[in-house]
């Protein structure tokens, strides 16, 4: 990945990504010594040092690098005539076919393909109410791949960001601490080194919370002028989402789920192990790049580098593949299943259960874990799985049924929660983002990946 990075950046540059720049006069002095000879058009791209890095390496586009890459690619996709099937939720995969729920039309759609690339993102949203991820990041692609025979690995490695706003989970960036902000408890005392690595800070905060206290970010001593100049975004977000003016009051925060390192086992050519014609890239895939804890900046690099590898591998595969696709018969069964869910009467509320699952994972399978906590979580999870069957959606419409979509996502969330808790229980050590208070040390007997495969015994690799 690192070797391919300069070419990946060059490709984004050619596509028109609006990278931040440095002056040409600085570009030679300030850049890393690099084994690559770079054209001046690339040397002028600004780089910043990310947490854990020893030099400024990450190219960026203001504060919105991911967004700007995404939209630039999106513009190219429109221009090249790519067809988008918006509002199609992946239901199931089989060799050379994917089944979707067409949310608008309210029907199952089967799409045949010589090759399929999954780029469906992570599953941080299973920690509902405790994550910076969007609502839909419930691991739908992972769940479909798992049900189709793929292997999922490392689900226990979940990265927390130390400072999300307490009630809305909106991210307050590291720069708030970098500029000199303090973390304080209810007594107003500092209790940790604010600039320690993310996982350490997150654990220190969570320990305070477990002891029943609240934790705050104290920025007041920095002064209004400095705050408005250095952290304008953060100031606005705190006022809007938390109703707190950080120039005058303490800002309530908590660690929130940010990234899931685990995912679908793939080869370095992005092929999903065990599934013909299926490829995966990005947060949904696990190419063992991030280990047990991801470094800042690496997720964007991963999607750019392996997105290309997956695309090319899928294209090459499709060219070679000339078998006809099997005749579909699952659409009807999938439709029946969805009809039943829509018509079901029962006493459970989807949104209440979704919150309960999020709270459960956060408390028992989050930043600090233990055998007792994880076992309790397993019991409660089984309870939630039973309650799932009694959910009354209260909306029997097939078209544009948002509750139905959120129900199907919740099913996937429950599956991933189960795999996560199982793996966290098995890993009787602490490593990276996975911390067991009953096994606080890293133990090299566990220097392997925990894998899960449907129907099969969980394996070690």
């Amino acid at each position: 990945m690192c070797r391919l990075a300069p070419e990946a950046i060059a490709r984004l540059e050619r596509l028109g990504v609006p990278f931040s720049r440095i002056k040409a006069s600085q570009s030679d002095a300030n850049q890393n010594p690099s084994p690559f000879t770079l054209h001046p058009s690339l040397k002028c791209i600004a780089q910043r040092r990310m947490g854990g890095a020893s030099a400024p390496r990450a190219c960026y586009a203001q504060d919105y690098t991911g967004l700007k890459i995404l939209h630039t690619l999106y513009d190219h996709a429109w221009h090249s005539g790519v067809t988008f099937l918006n509002e199609h939720l992946l239901l199931a995969l089989e060799p050379h076919r994917a089944y979707f729920w067409d949310i608008r039309q309210g029907k199952v759609v089967a799409v045949n393909a010589k090759a399929i690339v999954l780029a469906t993102g992570g599953f941080g949203a299973i920690y509902h109410g405790h994550t910076t991820n969007l609502y839909g990041a419930t691991g739908d692609g992972l769940a479909a791949a798992y049900r189709a025979g793929a292997t999922l690995s490392d689900p226990e490695f979940v990265q927390f960001h130390p400072t999300g706003l307490y009630s809305s989970n909106i991210l307050i960036s590291e720069s708030a601490r970098g500029e000199g902000g303090y973390l304080v408890n209810e007594a107003g005392e500092r209790f940790t080194d604010e600039l320690a690595p993310r996982d350490e800070v997150a654990r220190a905060i969570f320990a305070q919370m477990q002891a029943g206290g609240k934790v705050y970010l104290d920025l007041r001593h920095l002064g209004k002028e400095k705050l408005e100049a250095l952290l304008p975004q953060e100031m606005a977000l705190a006022r809007l989402h938390e109703g707190v003016d950080p120039t005058e009051a303490l800002l309530p925060i908590k660690p929130v789920v940010h990234y899931t390192m685990g995912g679908i086992e793939t080869t370095l050519k992005a092929e999903v192990k065990g599934c013909e014609g299926l490829f995966a890239a990005g947060e949904c895939a696990n190419m063992h790049i991030h280990g047990a804890n991801r470094l800042g900046g690496n997720s964007l690099l991963e999607i750019v580098v392996f997105g290309e590898i997956a695309g090319k591998a899928a294209a090459a595969y499709a060219k070679e593949y000339d078998n006809s696709v099997p005749i579909s018969d699952r659409a009807e069964a999938l439709t029946q299943r969805i009809r039943k869910i829509c018509d079901r009467k029962g006493g459970e509320n989807l949104y209440t259960l979704r919150r309960e699952l999020g709270d459960l994972l956060y408390e028992k399978a989050g930043i600090i874990r233990s055998a007792d906590g994880l076992k309790a979580a397993q019991i409660k999870l089984n309870d939630l799985k039973e309650k799932l069957q009694a959910i009354d959606l209260g909306d029997s419409s097939l078209q544009n049924n948002q509750a139905l979509v959120e129900y199907l996502e919740f099913e996937n969330a429950l599956l991933l929660a189960e795999l996560l808790i199982d793996a966290a229980l098995k890993r009787q050590e602490s490593r990276g983002a996975h911390y067991r208070e009953d096994f606080p040390e890293t133990n090299d007997l566990f220097a392997y990946h925990i894998e899960a495969k449907q129907g099969g015994a969980d394996g070690n690799a």
């Binding site: 990278f19 586009a61 203001q62 909106i170 209440t352």
Partner: protein
């Protein structure tokens, strides 16, 4: 508690929700407590995905960035086919991205300076929330108008020093494009990202003029000549 008045397929329904929260979390409160059929679009909760735009008291806002106020009237975006309640179909509006040729066409190696990056910093913050599209009065009368966000994007690529030939962009924004805008500024007023499509459109007019185009309306009015060919294309008598 505050009362929200939500427009649902033409009728207004009242809901009591807790105060001090964003409109988006209030919509979920309604869904959990009163009515799971209430339909809206949502994603990031943090003003970056652009999914959740609606109209509150006749002004476009992001639901995740609007604090609920007592009596707020909430309605779906205009000029988009309504799917259900507050959820609209954006596919037609997004087609303007294709029609405006808003993309880097012919990459030419260029050494960019910080000031080059600053020039399109704002324009490239666009999250395609469609607020500006819904606010634009021209779209009320002409659904073929390219609309503000596509033109802002076209501008972003047209002035990119890496674009060695922006002719196809400039050509694409003449018909139902830069000259059809009334420069009313409604788009600029509602953009949650502080983007100013109106001034980008003005700049595009200058670029168009430099490329030999002229305002067809102006030409038609001042010289009384018929508006041939729909008012676009290179006009050799266009005042140069």
């Amino acid at each position: 508690m505050v009362t929200l008045k939500i427009e649902r397929n033409g009728t207004i329904e009242h809901f009591e929700v807790s105060e001090g929260q964003t409109l988006l979390s209030a919509l979920y409160e309604i869904k959990e407590k009163y009515d799971t059929t209430l339909t809206f679009a949502a994603g990031c909760r943090a003003s970056v995905c652009g999914t959740c735009a609606v109209r509150v008291n006749d002004k476009e806002v992001l639901a995740c960035a609007h604090k609920v106020c007592d009596g707020d009237v909430v309605a779906p975006l205009r000029f988009h086919p309504l799917l259900r309640d507050l959820k609209v179909d954006k596919s037609q509006a997004l087609q303007t991205l294709q029609r405006s040729e808003a993309v880097l066409h012919h990459y030419g190696e260029a050494v960019l300076a910080p000031k080059d990056a600053h020039k399109t910093e704002r324009q490239s913050d666009c999250i395609l929330c469609d607020s500006c599209y819904s606010a634009c009065p021209v779209l009320a009368v002409d659904e073929a108008f390219l609309g503000p966000f596509a033109l802002t994007r076209a501008y972003r690529y047209a002035i990119d020093p890496r674009e060695s030939d922006n002719r196809s962009i400039i050509d694409a924004i003449q018909q139902k494009g830069v000259w059809d805008c009334t420069l009313c500024g409604e788009c600029t007023a509602v953009c949650p990202k502080g983007i100013d499509p109106k001034s980008d459109i003005l700049q595009l007019r200058t670029l168009s003029a430099q490329a030999g185009y002229s305002d067809p309306n102006f030409a038609a009015q001042s010289f009384g000549t018929p508006d041939f060919g729909g008012g676009f294309g290179f006009d050799p008598n266009g005042g140069f």
